[in-house]
């Protein structure tokens, strides 16, 4: 672990989205960092603009323009935090085609600009555990060196593989820049709002028939902490960022007080369409891959390098449930009450049958 090398000027991409805005605002609050520049082609939303207000200098620019290299030189950028990696297509902003354009071409252009920035010393890139692909011949637990066996079906996972490929090339061409790749498990927490958290908020949760995948989450706060420390300290390399342990999908649904509705795999796309119409839920092949095969990663390298013990997957999910409240179709209090009622009923019947009030075993 290497401290005391906080960069003076940090450029954060994707600040119109929650993760980017949050990370940029946090970096701006760190006294070790002089300036934080937020880059995004879109205007910040109401929520993100309050986060950014006054501390982050927002520049409206597209990653795919020549402007980028100029900005890097003009502001003397020392570190780049690349968070403009979309996990799900935004139907209002061009859908999947635009998402791929932003993720893949955007990263390519950003790295090209990084290569030309003379003062740049640090690069932090958001990746995902989806980089491990999906195969039935996969080991149960992925370590950072596990190669994907099959190309994943999901668009996001394919983008992530492309992005990591570009970063590998960048590392070769710019060895003086410390590059950190963070492979995040799906984010969760009481404030997180992702397609997965919306999924667990449905009253009836569609699952794939005959599959009960192991899931892993990372708490948003832990993710933020690790992201922040990747910038202000020196942690070159690729790291899995996830809460240790695992829970199964059925377990997660039950803990949320929801009811799982198993659907045969081919029927899932119809359910996805339905969910998009009525629940505002985007449900893609990325999720389907996850719900068939599950995904668990090893976090030994992260824990050793950052000297950190992130919240376990169970703890992170419990925190998400606290934010959700006791709103399910099948609240735990109801189940507990039913259990007590049945038990009392059986005791009453047995006591009546014996003619004496309880106590048979003497």
């Amino acid at each position: 672990m290497n401290t005391g090398q906080a960069p003076e000027v940090v450029l954060v991409t994707g600040v119109s989205r929650y993760l980017g805005a949050q990370a940029a605002a946090r970096l701006a609050l760190d006294p070790r960092i002089g300036r934080v520049i937020g880059l995004d082609p879109n205007d910040p939303t109401a929520e993100t603009s309050t986060l950014l207000a006054g501390t982050v200098e927002v520049v409206r620019a597209d990653l795919r323009t020549a402007e980028l290299a100029k900005i890097m030189v003009e502001y003397d950028v020392r570190a780049v935090v690349h968070l403009a990696v979309a996990a799900a297509p935004d139907p209002r902003a061009g859908g999947r085609a635009a998402m791929k354009e932003q993720n893949v071409i955007g990263t390519m252009q950003l790295l090209a600009a990084c290569q030309q920035a003379p003062l740049l010393r640090k690069l932090v890139v958001r990746s995902s555990t989806a980089a491990y692909g999906r195969s039935f011949r996969d080991p149960a637990v992925f370590v950072e060196d596990t190669e994907p066996r099959d190309l994943p079906r999901g668009g996001f996972a394919r983008d992530v593989l492309d992005i990591e490929g570009y970063v590998r090339g960048f590392r070769r061409r710019a060895p003086h820049v410390a590059a950190t790749v963070l492979r995040f498990a799906p984010f969760i927490g009481h404030r997180a709002n992702t397609s997965l958290t919306r999924y667990f908020s449905l009253p009836l949760v569609p699952t794939v028939l005959g599959r009960d995948p192991r899931l892993q989450f990372v708490h948003v706060d832990d993710a933020m902490e690790i992201l922040h420390r990747s910038v202000v300290e020196n942690h070159s390399g690729t790291f899995n960022v996830a809460g240790p342990g695992a829970i199964t999908l059925s377990q997660a649904v039950r803990r949320a007080g929801r009811v799982a509705v198993p659907v045969p795999e081919p029927g899932m796309s119809a359910v996805a369409l339905f969910a998009r119409q009525y629940g505002g839920l985007s449900f893609s092949l990325d999720q389907l891959d996850l719900f068939v095969s599950g995904r668990v990663v090893d976090v030994t390298r992260l824990a050793r390098e950052f000297n950190i013990s992130p919240r376990t997957t169970e703890e992170a999910f419990a925190d998400f449930l606290r934010g959700l409240g006791n709103s399910g179709v099948l609240p735990h209090s109801t189940i507990r009450a039913a259990e007590q009622a049945i038990l009392d009923g059986i005791r009453a019947v047995r006591a009546a049958g014996r003619g004496t009030p309880q106590g048979g075993g003497r």
Binding site: F136, P139, A140, V143, R211, A246, R254, I335, Q358, G361
Partner: protein, 316 residues
């Protein structure tokens, strides 16, 4: 489980040798205090179990092993088959480590891999430490819906070096069948003849982790579904490694799925210490020779057990 309450008409369903099914854990509804009412405790335990399952209040490990479900559902379902149908008899239990990692290597047979399940139950029920044998399965198991999930919940995982070494590093007892489909899908006329042991991947995993190899010989599984022919075209059509034709299957339909009640003997052999060879874990010749040693050990134990069984030299 002593003293069934008098006047309760001790029910026929009350057999539970490991005493695990209705275990009451902290946080459950307490049985009526001081009565010693066995049935009350059982009902309360069963309801608490149902509640924990319905609310997700149980734990699975990173491989998906659901210990509570294994104790309360999977093992109790297998136990009648183990005890009353196959009348499994176990020898050499002292060779299983009570703690720490171990790699149990066994012969594979029987058309349907019931031998793996019986081996795991033998380790759990008969050994004083009641350890769980973490089985390794082919990718076909994890490709198949339902089966894959039951396998994971029962503690199995994919037979690949990454998973084996991770389990052994976690001090688990791992069960492997190096013959794979070649063993379980062989014809009845080849019974008790060990097939090739692949490339000996299990040996390199043991060498890398310094884990002792415990050879295990299973006699009895060959006769449960005697496979007289393999309908290859049908197998290819269904994407299966083999399609068995037995005297009863597929002729008798679902009835043909009932295994024949053969007498089973399982013997664990003396552990093979691999530490002297640990440095050569990437030397294919060392790995191959060690695999061969294990194979010969199992073959000779099998021959010996067959004589024992032929002589009727067992309890029942």
């Amino acid at each position: 489980m002593s003293g069934v309450a008098p006047g309760n008409g001790a029910g026929p369903r009350g057999r539970d040798p490991a005493g695990t099914a209705g275990a009451v854990t902290p946080g459950d509804v307490a049985p009526v205090a001081g009565t010693g009412d066995v049935w009350d405790a059982r009902v309360a335990g069963a309801l608490a179990f149902l509640r924990r399952r319905l609310t997700g209040q149980y734990e699975v490990d990173e491989f998906g092993f659901d210990r509570e479900l294994t104790d309360a559902v999977i093992n109790p379902l297998l136990r009648p088959m183990y005890r009353d149908w196959f009348r499994v008899e176990v020898r050499g239990l002292v060779h299983l480590p009570a703690t720490g990692p171990g790699l149990v290597v066994a012969n594979h047979s029987g058309t349907v891999a019931l031998d793996a399940l019986m081996l795991a139950l033998a380790v759990h029920d008969e050994h004083p430490a009641h350890r769980y044998l973490r089985l390794l399965g082919a990718d076909l198991v994890f490709r198949t819906p339902f089966l894959s999930e039951v396998a994971r919940k029962g503690g199995a995982t994919l037979a690949c070096n990454a998973d084996v070494e991770r389990l052994l590093d976690n001090d688990e007892l791992v069960g492997v069948f190096p013959e794979g489909f070649k063993g379980v899908g062989k014809l009845y006329r080849d019974r008790y003849r060990l097939q090739r042991f692949g490339r000996g991947g299990f040996v390199s995993a043991a060498l890398r982790t310094g884990t002792p190899i415990i050879p295990a010989a299973i006699v009895g599984a060959e006769e449960i579904y005697p496979m007289i022919a393999n309908a290859r075209p049908l197998a290819r059509l269904l994407g299966m490694p083999y399609f068995p034709v037995t005297p009863t299957f597929p002729w008798l339909g679902p009835l043909g799925l009932v295994p024949l009640p053969s007498k089973w003997l399982i013997e664990f052999g003396e552990p093979i210490d691999v530490l002297p060879y640990a440095e050569d874990h990437d030397d294919p010749v060392v790995v191959y020779n060690l695999a061969d040693l294990v194979r010969e050990h199992i073959q000779s134990t099998l021959d010996n057990l067959l004589q024992v069984r032929a002589a009727g030299d067992y309890a029942r």
